[in-house]
Symmetry: C2
Subunit: 406 residues, 2 copies
Amino acid sequence: MIKAAILGFGTVGSGVYNVLKSNNRLVNERAGQEIEVKYVLDLRDFPGDPVESVLTHDFEDIINDPEVKIVVEVMGGINPAFDFTKRCLEEGKNVCTSNKELVAEHGLELMSIARENDVNYFFEASCGGGIPIIRALNDCLTADDIDRITGILNGTTNFILTEMTEKPGVSFGKVLKQAQANGYAERDPSADVDAFDPARKIAILASIVFGSSVDYKDVYTEGIRQITAEDIRYSTTLGYAIKLLAEASRTEDGIRVYVAPFLVDPSHPLYPINGVMNAVYVHGNMLGDAVFTGAGAGSLPTASAVVADVIDAARHDGKRAYCGWKHDEKLAITSIDGVRRKYLVRISTEDEAKANKVFSPDGFLDTISVGELEDEIAFITPELSESEFEAKAKEFGKVISRIRFY
Amino acid sequence: MIKAAILGFGTVGSGVYNVLKSNNRLVNERAGQEIEVKYVLDLRDFPGDPVESVLTHDFEDIINDPEVKIVVEVMGGINPAFDFTKRCLEEGKNVCTSNKELVAEHGLELMSIARENDVNYFFEASCGGGIPIIRALNDCLTADDIDRITGILNGTTNFILTEMTEKPGVSFGKVLKQAQANGYAERDPSADVDAFDPARKIAILASIVFGSSVDYKDVYTEGIRQITAEDIRYSTTLGYAIKLLAEASRTEDGIRVYVAPFLVDPSHPLYPINGVMNAVYVHGNMLGDAVFTGAGAGSLPTASAVVADVIDAARHDGKRAYCGWKHDEKLAITSIDGVRRKYLVRISTEDEAKANKVFSPDGFLDTISVGELEDEIAFITPELSESEFEAKAKEFGKVISRIRFY
């Protein structure tokens, strides 16, 4: 028997409580011992809810109870989650969390405290919701040197881009409002649409894959706010899809980590990932390519990942589990300036001659026209580095929009 | 330091040896200790190959060496692999294997011997090649009650079906010859094209998911030998793809396990899995849907999965790892007779009236014509159970071919 506490009875916390109740027999069998929720911490009361019998408003009840060996932190945000997590780890309690803000912001410190106190800090649910990508990296793809990981790590933006593709002509703003109305997007959508959320997630995954902390503030981050119905029309005409990709890779120039919308071709494994689904595409030096797909958010899928952590914490009671993120140092990230790609560039029809002069090595660019868009054309550049493209775009001066080809 | 032996230096065995050499530093770090290959068993000599220094022709060298704690059985076939595996487990050595024939045929007995001797019998590479599906089930999706698992588990047949789809009009026989020529299919292709191979794999996966042994001989098994270029033309006309699916599910009527070609619609996650790729689609009661995709065969991807087992064996040195396949009994399988599905049925144009009479509840069936096929048509039946369909097909008497809709 091992006793657990849940910090926060919100969407994920109540999901964790429900998974532990509903799948009780299975969970205990797989954990190798009975897991009992002794406390649920929340400031609110839940009159009539079965959780009442274990509800507490006081974190001190939990931290001072030596019986509690596993603490589930699903409060979200930095404070007081950071302080609570730190104190639990220092007290010799394992912590399982879905809190990607906290892991991305203070993971380095918390991992180090966990190591010093011989306990585990697990955060499977912080990346990719129910997709078991962190455990896949730490415990499954262990024979491989992983050199690239590419993900659709944010369900809200993937839903918006999918809607814009399936309903041609619909604007970003309109789809965002719809996503907010049906609960797929927050009232303040910035973490999603400005891609701070997937930037945090790819920083966490990169820290596991490459061994040292990747600071999410070092991740080149471009969201989807600027993607228009017109951009989508071009991508559809080309047979491509626009996807917000988060990627970390080891290249000859160093480790690169970035998030940006890309034009993805139909043969790519991330092309068919639509709606709120997430997917992670991993390349290993022996395995080759592997793709993990699943629900990136939602109360029960996220809770499923948290409870898998709880089970692993019970299996490792008194022992440290392996985690690839093992060095107490920050990883230096190489800028994206040198990355060479093709770009789709939209311009006014009248600027075609100038575009040929600036962007084409031989003075001639194939152009793409979309029936509905009369006064403009688009073209595909030759392969250019980010900085070469920026210089040319500046010289040209009148780019309507540009999207990278993956 | 933990010492290992490899039984068999063929395609997979040499891959395992190479992965352990090439990724040596990473492998040791993740195993928590150095892994040293002390013996490689093969009847052949490999003059000049670095393996010579550890090569032995005598299994007794390995079984009698108490230092050897991990044995990699990658010989394939039942004999002498079964005898060797049994003796290793009885001697307190962990065994890691890619041998699906052996696991499917004697898994129940070998799992039980492993339990009695407090060692582990790992077989990640027996299903889905490099896809870490077994570890995903045992160690990652642990919070979930898995009620369905559906896979494309055979790369050869998926390659053949993909080729037939991409090159309309090409026959099964011609593509098979091509697959044999480029090494994707065996000289005797029966295990693949008659679906015995995926039947074994789904039996193994079902044993893990449902806890007791599923006998592969109980699995309803239909291969792809009878699929013609004409069948492919209809599937393409409908916008569907024909895939050889292996499925195990818990239904109201009991556990069902079968392998057969199905018409898969474009929105299904297994639709885009082409060529030699494998994929496994899992449904959990909390997680919802998750899909794992990767290389289903090949020396290095398979070796990557075997080495992940070796690492897990080193991590669990002296301890049993959790495995869902835990009961010493055979699971009763429910027949597929009661499963209700739609069918695509091809008939001669002249038999349309009779087909309407036999297959349609209201005497009228929508028919599908394909330009190139002049004397025949096809229609989609209403939902029928397998036995209802069989009865109607018998009454009708002149079905050219029938394929189930998934």
